[in-house]
């Protein structure tokens, strides 16, 4: 099974360190979403894997073999550029055929593969059009077809939906998910949009400060964010400080009373008296009442936003911490509210490393 290992990648950009030891891997049949804010070096990682740029240090292993001596045009990886980089002087068909021509295939073979690639993205009718006449979404599809046509060993997509408007993005996300799951190759999908990442990624790798802050199965990452930055990046902002009071059961004394957070599996337990940070994940009000949470938190509703099928509330807790709530019924601003977070919604964050 094909596998790419990225090991301790370092890269400087204009004299400043951009990547400071990036490690992750991706295997056949899975989509790894590389998530990070803009300017974090996500695209640079893709360009290094593709061979367009060389790392200052670190290794790329393809099935255990070093990729470094192989020039970009012999790696047989597919890369879809953020601006699509379609050749303006070639038609749709010729664009898709480009990679196949580089493999010196026969005319009939190329024609067949081009047809298949265009069918895969539902663009057969556009074969003879000029790429400059296409809309953004159409160009995106052609760029995908062009990347897939030569049957790359690995597919990389650099923010493929960033330039499109919202409704089109939703539509194409579905299509991309289907295409990616059908292509039985490793895929790396770069985005700064966590919703897109959840939808498309089998696994997530979050890039922050030149390193992978956390990598793992999408659900696992959501369940147990590795630190404050990851939690914040994924939209979890409720933080509460406190001191460890006892270990069994784990009790943390905070301004809002004694709380009983869960420890992330595998994390080293804190010592008694240690100052720690608790993460309060957004609470679903309906479920919070039904499941027996141990701890009870009281707060005042400060904001109510209607979001179509539900409401998003902000609850100011004792210490001024904001807790996000999801509710199906309307509540009034200023109303006082008691919530009991489910055990998994109150976590002890393992480290204090990265401030949000």
């Amino acid at each position: 099974m094909d596998r790419l290992d990225v090991i301790d990648l370092h890269k400087e950009f204009e004299g400043k360190p951009l990547l400071e030891g990036v490690n992750f891997h991706v295997t056949a049949g899975e989509t790894l979403c590389l998530l990070g804010s803009s300017g974090s070096g996500k695209s640079t990682i893709l360009r290094i894997i593709a061979g367009i740029e060389t790392p200052d240090a670190g290794q790329l292993l393809w099935n255990g073999g070093d990729l470094t001596p192989i020039p970009v045009f012999r790696r047989r990886f597919g890369l879809m550029f953020q601006d699509y980089a379609l050749f303006p002087h070639l038609s749709v068909k010729e664009n898709v055929a480009f990679g196949l021509r580089m493999q010196n295939l026969s005319r009939t073979e190329i024609a067949g593969k081009v047809r298949a690639a265009l069918e895969r993205v539902n663009m057969s009718a556009f074969a003879d059009r000029r790429v400059t006449d296409l809309s953004g979404g159409e160009q995106q599809r052609i760029a995908l077809a062009r990347a897939l046509a030569p049957a790359p060993r690995l597919l990389m997509l650099d923010e493929p939906l960033a330039a499109l408007d919202r409704s089109l993005r939703m539509e194409l996300q579905e299509e991309l998910r289907e295409v990616l799951s059908r292509a039985e190759i490793p895929a790396i999908y770069v985005t700064h949009d966590q919703e897109e990442a959840i939808l498309l990624g089998d696994r997530l790798a979050l890039l922050h400060d030149g390193r992978i802050a956390q990598a793992g199965e999408t659900e696992e990452v959501y369940r147990y964010p590795a630190n404050r930055w990851v939690a914040a990046f994924l939209g979890m902002t409720g933080l509460l400080e406190g001191d460890v009071h006892s270990l069994a059961p784990l009790t943390v004394r905070t301004d809002c009373g004694d709380l009983h957070p869960q420890l992330i599996p595998g994390a080293t337990p804190p010592g008694v008296g240690e100052r720690v940070m608790l993460l309060l994940k957004p609470v679903n009000l309906e479920q919070a009442g039904a499941v027996n949470g141990i701890d009870e938190l009281t707060g005042e509703v400060t904001e109510v936003v209607f979001l179509g099928d539900h409401y998003r509330l902000k609850l100011r807790l004792c210490s001024g911490t904001q807790l996000d709530l999801v509710a199906t019924h309307r509540l009034a601003v200023g109303e006082s509210l008691k919530v009991r977070p489910r055990p998994g919604d109150l976590l002890l964050l393992p480290d204090e490393g990265h401030p949000a």
């Binding site: 593709a50 012999r74 480009f98």
Partner: protein, 564 residues
Amino acid sequence: MSLVRGARAFLNRSGLLLWALPLGMFALFFFYPLFTILSTMFSRAGEIIPSAVWEPLLFTSYQALLSTLLTLLFGLPAAWVFSQFDFTGKRLLRTLTMLPFILPTVVTAAAFNALLGPRGWINVLLMRLTGDPTTPINFLNTFTAILVAHVFYNIAIVIRVVGSAWSQLDPRLEQSAGVLGASPWRAFVSVTLPLLRRPILSAALLVFLFDFASFGVILMLGGPAYQTLEVAVYTEALRYLNLPMAGLLSIIQLACTLGITLLYGRVNRGRVVPLFPRLRGEGVRKPRTWRERLIVSMTVAFLFTLQVLPLAALVTRSVTRLEADRGQRGEVQTGLTLDFYRELFVNKSQSLFYVLPAAAVANSLRFAALTTIISTTVGTLLAFAMVKKPFAHRWLDAVVMLPFGASAVTMGLGFIVAFNGTPLARGAFPWLIPLAHSLIATPFVLRAVQPALAAIPTSLTQSAAVLGASPFRAWWEVEMKLISRALLTGALFSFTISLGEFGATSFIARSDTPTLPVAIFRYLGQPGALNYGQAMAMATILILVCALSLTLLEQLSSALNGAD
């Protein structure tokens, strides 16, 4: 092994291989001749007459200033008409006004000769009407002829530069001035004119530069009484054989044109981009009031008279017999004839130095083809070097652009001083001519190709590489294909420039291998109706080639704009 690899890496990084050929060419064929001129000047300083410098310098400046003012006087109203109004024949007229711009000076001289010269239409017809044997209009060899030809040449610059800036001015600016209480005239003076100051200055400087460096027009239309620096270089070098004096004059000329070029660069630096570019055709309207109609039709009539009449006179004169051939007596058969064209292929002269006009055509085509190959190769290499390996970019850009600022005459003088007696000049093939033409044409290729190349996003070549294209294939299939139109534009320019080049060629063309412009010049200077007719015929051939190339260029540029 590692030394080889290190050397290769250095070459790759610095792009020295890309720079090598162009820089070598410029060093050997521009800077070395320039150096030879200087050393001749200093080693034979005794032959220099310093006081003889002032007269041509003053006259050059004076005629250039006057020509520029006249060009603005007639060009600005035309620019206004072109930018504001839509009228029938606008496209054609625009193309026609561009024609002189690429027309060889020899052709221009021949055209005015055909209209107003002693054998031209007007004089011949007037003489026939009055029966008076003296020519009623003396246009050739006057100061007026120089001025008219300069306006003819450069009015297109004013129309293009000022007209396009004018048409891109946001009409709302003038409208809001009106809303604020300004009369149309005050709105024009206080809003439009200040906004157009830079384009007008820029056009004026360019016109001044061209008028200052004018050679063929002065030599052929001004006659021996008028000596600009360029003509003085020619006279000193070829008539009095005073090379040090010619050298001094050409160095002064070079310094002046460089100064003007630098000034021009300053004016154009950070040129203001219109804030609200209009949609195509927005703000352009048909003339409505009778005053507008009058102004538009007067402009059209004026431009037509200035640009079309001389050329039409030339073309018709080449197929009309109006007077007796040399040695012919009695009543002349006047009327249409193709004799002048037929005679191009007939060798009548017994002279040893006589060259068949058809051979001059063949020479010109051969030189133009070579020039096109050399200048597109060198220009493209340079464009790649500048865009990909901007290694001391500004400095090298200046080095390459210097020959552009240098006049053709300086180049021609440098060539004879540096290479006379060398195999380059004496060999079976006159290599100096295509080389000189290439030096003149390369900047045009560079100016056409460089922006096209710089506009290619790097992601295109990178994505070609990811798709499996080797560096060579990515270069060939993506970059070269994308600059192919610009390359063709540059090639066409080179070809046309070479066909019409007169200044440098007049120095280095050997008597047995004249080019078409040189042959036209010689035939114009010889007596007899047949020689005159043949000169007209050859000039007509040049016009047709230039018109064809201009049409292709316009189509290429509109295709280029359409593709964006």
